[in-house]
Symmetry: C2
Subunit: 404 residues, 2 copies
């Protein structure tokens, strides 16, 4: 068994936590596994370093910020190696560049273009543990680069692929993916397994435990991820290719996101290219549009409604009011008290009537649906934020998610 174990910031957040983490690595070795480790910076360290950069300049060079924050993981990797040595393990820290992580693209959001992992396999076969800094690599010119948000998970998956690991264990401060948020529905159940596609949908809905990039990479190379807690060594949730088991249930879980605002531009003269004339300036302003609905044209006029992150609400309204004039539309309306609730599951592919059942459940609770969007394995509705808890609990119950 060859494993890559990845430990996030809270799992290495202090000397004590690093000790616990070393025990996990040691235990895997004692079970006969070959192990490589990927670490994040100690929690808070990246922010401390960014604080220094911003104390220096309002607009620090991204190359230098990368070189600066990359030291955070280097510190963790060295400290964990020291602790592993104490336990009798031959561990060696490697920076991204030393480990063989090649990147392309711009600073602060580089992409991994390849990992030269052969020397690491050699170490692992000798019973040694490479402790690799996540989140970073070097570009073709030898500059230190960082991968941006979620980079460490992506580093771990990329390393697992490069060293031909059987699984990539991602240790974090939660013990898996739940059928829904247990703070809303105490009967929420931890899932033993979930498909890559479902994980992507959960991630895009704010399940922050695994970043989309890492799941996409794992899916492309069929690398199983075991998402688990470093605080409690029970089985977590295994993310892998869809299997027959997964097809049984109609849906796998219910997700929600409160970080939503809805805007409508009404009475736009309906002519080719109106979507482009709205969404091009919105995209140029770096605003992420999510659900989009365009009404049926009436009297040659149409309405366009879409959701944006709540933090972009004010900027979006301002932009649309300008567009409203230039496009000769009637008016702009907005609402920042909406939320999204989604049901997710690969079972939708084989079960019919799942969306209909969702709408019936919500209707029965007198919850008005404002917008609907569907994908192959997800149905999302936009509704008033105050209904989130009610909707989540009703759906969780109606789809029998409390029982495996």
């Amino acid at each position: 068994m060859r494993i890559v174990q990845k430990f996030g910031g809270t799992s290495v957040g202090s000397v004590e936590r690093i000790r616990e983490t070393a025990k996990i690595v040691h235990a895997a070795l004692k079970q006969g596994s070959q192990v490589a480790v990927v670490v994040s910076a100690m929690s808070g360290e990246t922010n401390r370093l960014l604080g220094l950069a911003h104390a220096m300049s309002d607009n620090p060079s991204l190359r230098e910020v990368d070189a600066l924050v990359a030291t955070g993981e280097q510190v963790t990797a060295a400290l964990l190696s020291i602790e592993l040595n104490k336990l009798g393990v031959s561990a060696y820290s490697f920076s991204g560049g030393q480990a063989g992580f090649k990147t392309e693209g711009s600073h602060a959001k580089a992409r991994i273009s390849g990992v030269e992992g052969d020397h690491l396999i050699q170490h692992m076969q000798n019973g040694e543990v490479p402790v690799v800094t996540g989140f970073q690599g070097v570009d073709a010119s030898g500059n230190i680069t960082t991968l941006g948000r979620g980079g460490s998970d992506t580093s771990a998956v990329a390393l697992a692929i490069a060293v031909k690991a059987n699984v990539c264990d991602i240790y974090t401060d939660v013990d898996g993916i739940y059928t829904t948020d247990p703070r809303i529905e105490p009967k929420a159940r931890k899932m033993n397994s979930i498909s890559y596609e479902e994980m992507l949908e959960f991630a895009s809905l704010g399940a922050k435990v695994l970043q989309t990039r890492s799941v996409e990479l794992a899916m492309r190379y069929d690398m199983p991820i075991h998402l688990r807690s470093s605080f409690d060594l029970i089985e977590g949730t295994r993310v892998s290719r869809e299997d027959s088991d997964m097809e049984r249930a109609e849906i796998s879980g219910v997700a929600y996101n409160r970080d939503e605002a809805k805007v409508t531009i009404k009475g736009i003269p309906d002519q080719p290219g109106i979507a482009a004339s709205v969404f091009c300036p919105v995209a140029a302003a770096d605003i992420n549009v999510d659900v989009i609905v365009q009404n049926i044209s009436e009297d040659g006029l149409t309405d366009l409604t879409f959701t944006v992150p709540r933090s972009d609400y004010a900027a979006t309204l301002k932009l649309l009011n300008q567009l409203c004039i230039s496009m000769k539309a009637r008016e702009v309306r907005g609402d920042d008290t909406v939320a999204k609730v989604s049901i997710i599951g690969v079972g939708m592919r084989s079960h019919t009537g799942v969306a209909k059942k969702m709408f019936e459940v919500l209707a029965k609770e007198n919850i008005n649906i404002q917008m609907i969007t569907t994908s192959e394995i997800k149905v999302t509705v936009v509704l008033e934020e105050k209904y989130v808890e009610l909707a989540v609990r009703a759906l969780h119950h109606a789809f029998n998610l409390e029982t495996a």
Copy 2:
């Protein structure tokens, strides 16, 4: 003019200090110089990192400690580059490995085996400023190594040699080398210039401003060092090859060191190999022996006296008491209230009677000389510690050091 500027820990000890340091670099560029910079870790940072390593383990692997503490300079290099960018300077941070510092020897005390500086020359010729981490490099296997004490000065000199600089400016928190300690003799005068050999003697006597290794390297490649203050931009002391000017004065300065203890092993049977039988075990115990005097043999017995750092006094006494028995010597005596006072100067080569004059001056003050040792450009006496100030002032005056 091509310059390497080196800034120590106090010169980059805070965001504010880094701003001041950036101004110094900027000013040199505006004067038309090509500049590369070498930086230390922010003062306190190396100790913070070592503290983490030792919180982890009493005996951390030196490889990992090197990887850990190397981040200290990386942080400074990035922050200084960010500040230089703000001033409109194209600056790029480089880790030791990125800059091309190759090392050999063991971790924590690696030696620089070479610097591949051509890409840095290219940057400098383009008006860009490489900001290089001092104190570190990579070994032949790509491991991060550090150079040990005084490493940053040595990095700066090595870089200056590699990029064929005209001078290596070493900025620190003192403004130069004085004829003696101004706290003892207020008439002490800052020297404009000093030879490498003299600097080495001053350094070995505790003038901590420039480490011996860096001076030796500069001497070997004839690289002038300009030692100066980053807090006060006046001329400092230039360290270079001996020139005709330097030959004028009998001596250049008076140095002292209180960190001395004296031990004597008395009545040793005088036979070949006794020095070896004493100093081999002393060296094995990692005790640095300094001044050594062996008395003329009398009745087939001899006495051996030597000085050690005061911190090694107790260990030395213990060791000698064991040796005393095994060597059938008479007794061991010790005194840890002694000090060393030296006069230093290349002028001694051309002036005769310098040592005699020193002894006369001390005799006139009724100061008893306990031990004497001489080199080509230095005379050192060991005396009771209480006479240090008196001896320093008397010698400073007698050799006319207050006037240039």
